[in-house]
Symmetry: C5
Subunit: 262 residues, 5 copies
């Protein structure tokens, strides 16, 4: 953990990452409901919304689309990721070096850690190198901390999420992206375990506006610092609308009702 | 993805790669029908046809034959590949470094990714290094994107091909070489998923002139940018004839009939 | 082994390490009984006690909390560690380089070796690099020497502990942290095997004041040089009280009764 | 492939390598019939025969014996090799770096590739590094191309040998050392597949003078460029006699009868 | 093999290494019979005997004790080794770099190779690096050549020992430390196979003075160059006595009777 409140990843100490690496992780299936969502330009466009602190994409998408949006968005390069074409113990390949991420304009980096996987040791060592390389460039590090694999029966249990956020603190991430444990109390536990590391909720699959905003509100009330969201924004016909509402809940700390009205 | 329209890999934004790494991948069997096709010089000769933007070969063939053709052909060095003497989960060894490819005159590089293989993570990490090394030399990167291995039941299904082309975009390839999904609609899906990354069809095993050209025409009509072809050129008695026809379909965008007449 | 009596890791040739890497190794479960113990600041506060020679934490905790305590505590960076979310042969990932530990202010480093594990060879080679890197910075090296894994039926048997302390000597650790073998005689054996390498007892899970101090006293009487303790300090309501008593037993070599009275 | 006709590995474009790495590959058993053959000096002595273009040995033998023969022999350092004490999928360890081979006076290097082995990918990647390191020193590269392992039922089948020689061309070897496929036609196939890469026959186990020379003659007649021979020379009482005959068949292209008469 | 007769590892071309890495390899069990033997200082003291050319220890023992004996002993750093706490195919971890061995005063290095183990390929590649690093420092290399593992039924058979000594020659060791094959003839075979590489006998477990000296005598008579001995020296109450006798047998080439009388 290093102080990151002066970096573009945050706004008033809060974080709203617009994640768009689903083309790699899930493939075309995630774009079926709304074919235009397959176009990265549309999500970059959404990322120009003032509520979005950074857009998180893989190297190839960054190379191809970020140059057109570099004045209006902040780039978080997601350094690892893998397709869902294969099965087996959770693992993720490192697809971009910190050095190259920095070169193409990223101001921060992201890394998925599957704690509990048989690949945990190897992934943690990859994280070590990336974290230390990022420090050399003063780039904040966001950990997608997702316990998963043999041994893990329930990866949204409060204890597991709390362990996930603690891993982020212990290993040196500045922000822990964790799943929503299902309740404000569960999120408080995760926040407490993370110490000075900021905790943000992972948006998950698309739900109704109210249900989604209420989970975000619970996160903020629990001391969480925001959200990393993908499908709940760009799978919607109108990303701006939900981003307006998220801005209210996260940065203005309004009620969900107030956010929905606007 | 980087802009590659000014590089020799393209002509008017289109691509026609003449691939000749079958001696490594398939062995002598591919040359049985036409013994003289075993001689790399014959395929280099064919590559001097103006329709061919680049010839793709392995390091050893490049070292031995490219010096005699460097004024008349453009070299794409295929960096990985493996024999079919062994079985097991699809994998491919890296047989040439980007540095050495550059040194012997290649202007672009190629890499096979078997998404869905148990070796996907390892292959993707090899691709990362190659892609970043290629960027340092401003060399375009072509991904032979072939989902294959455990989990993959049908590697020419439209969804799989669309995932293949998306992998190329996400991971930073400039051109995605994918199998023909069997229809123009399937290819449109693949092209849409690839975003700014150009999609070219993989030629596959030898078929009739008409059948072959019709698939190429469908690719072009679907927004594909061309073809990477091997056996359908150099297994023919007269490679020039089919290259003439391909030039019409790909670069002049004629009908198949018009191309066949010529 | 190098002379370490002039380094902050020791006081009068003795050692009292306050270990706090349980958030990584055991997760939130270790903080359940006393929720405020999850806050690293509380343990750093305890580490300002004059009885504590160094505080041992993982990289992330050091980055986030040590800057506020660098004038009042000495930092031992625990370089490897792993979660208990996964199962399998004992192993531990290297989470911090010596170089980076030095950069953020650590004066010594710690490393867990699971002798007897199927990963012993690999872990020992990681230790080699770390030990030699530490030498280049004149940083003492503490080995958490815990035989564990296939083949090991009883890891607190006197012979196993004695082998553990010998491994530390042979491989070049300055301090061997071993489990308490259950008796003063057992500890004498371990001390004899360690030669010039200092042996300290691992605190283990929380017990009563008397039971705990008596094991510490036995260690000192056996020629051990101190203690590396975690839960028996920070899981107590009042860490200062037990540290006062430990100071008496370890540094003033009083009886347990005298220490308990104070 | 690079032009090697100006290097000491060739004489008039032909090659006769005297191989002596059997002490590593087969152990003392190969010396049983003729105990003095265990002495490397005896084979170095034989290598001073003008018919021998290079002697191929492992690093240790080169270090110990080549200095006494450096004026009269040319050194090909065999970079990998392994004992036959273990079983399992064919593999070979890299026992010498190109850099060190160059330092101790080698003018060319050799490498065994077991195409078809489960270790093919890994061995081919080792070959890549060695080939590129050798290029940096302008040292010719000889591939001992021996398909072997799971999947391979018959490693002297003509198709397998032809694939073996093609692998040498594709991967960048200057000379392919392959087994004798049993006929002149089989060797012609191998030569055709190798393109500009020179093909030499592997001598194999000891046979009669006539049988051996007839296979060599068939190789030359088939367009092969010579021989890499071990046991058929140094297991003979009089190595000079057979080398005289080989000189005739290979370099003077006489009949076997003429060679035997002399 | 390089000329080592001018180095401290030899005396009149002969070698007597006092080995003391048993604390790592066997643990406390080897010291049970004579507890003071656990103290490395006692063996360093013994190593000041003029019969001892070098003392062989692991890095940690060298760091802690060699500084007190550097004027009176020569240090051979044993670079790899492992505990016997685990089971499985024989392997050994590299515990010290050549660079660091040189830095702390070693004049030569030692390495165990388990030829015939499933780890042979990997161990041999580790040996390559170590041997070449040692050459850069002009440090002699001693190979503990112990065929062991799957496939090996009898590791003291004459043929196996002869293969062991040949491996040392082929791979570039200056001295081969092998087990006693049980007879002078067996040792002659091993010596013959080793060519210019010196062969020394491994001392093995403690036996009677006469039995031990007779095996040493047989080694010398067979052309062996000496001994690497541990337990047969430091497990004796009076190491000086047996070293006096060894000096006679090895360096003065007396009979065993004459040596025992003295």
């Amino acid at each position: 953990m290093i102080p990151i409140d002066e970096t573009p990843l945050t706004r008033d100490g809060k974080v709203l990452i617009l994640a768009y690496d689903h083309g790699l992780e899930h493939g075309p299936a995630d774009f079926t409901g709304l074919p235009e969502s397959a176009d990265p330009a549309r999500t970059f466009e959404a990322a120009t919304h003032p509520a979005v602190t950074s857009i998180a994409v893989q190297k190839g998408v960054a190379e191809a689309y970020y140059p057109s949006y570099e004045d209006d968005t902040d780039l978080l390069l997601k350094l690892n990721g893998t397709s869902n074409l294969w099965m087996g113990e959770p693992d993720s390949s490192v697809n971009c070096s910190v050095e190259y991420a920095h070169e193409i304009g990223a101001s921060s980096v992201g890394f998925t850690l599957y704690g509990g996987s048989n690949h945990e040791v190897e992934m943690t060592e990859e994280f070590r190198e990336i974290q230390e390389d990022a420090r050399a460039h003063d780039m904040p590090v966001v950990m997608w901390s997702y316990p998963r694999g043999q041994g893990l029966k329930n990866d949204t249990k409060s204890d597991v999420i709390a362990y996930a956020s603690r891993l982020a603190l212990e290993l040196g991430a500045d922000v822990a992206k964790v799943k929503y444990p299902g309740s404000k109390a569960g999120m408080e536990h995760a926040v407490q375990m993370a110490g000075k590391t900021k905790v943000v909720m992972s948006g998950g699959s698309k739900t109704s506006d109210r249900e989604f905003l209420e989970s975000v509100k619970a996160v903020i009330d629990a001391g969480g610092k925001g959200l990393a969201v993908g499908r709940n924004v760009w799978q919607r016909e109108n990303p701006t609308q939900i981003l307006d509402a998220l801005e209210k809940v996260i940065f203005e700390e309004t009620t969900v009702d107030a956010a929905l009205e606007a």
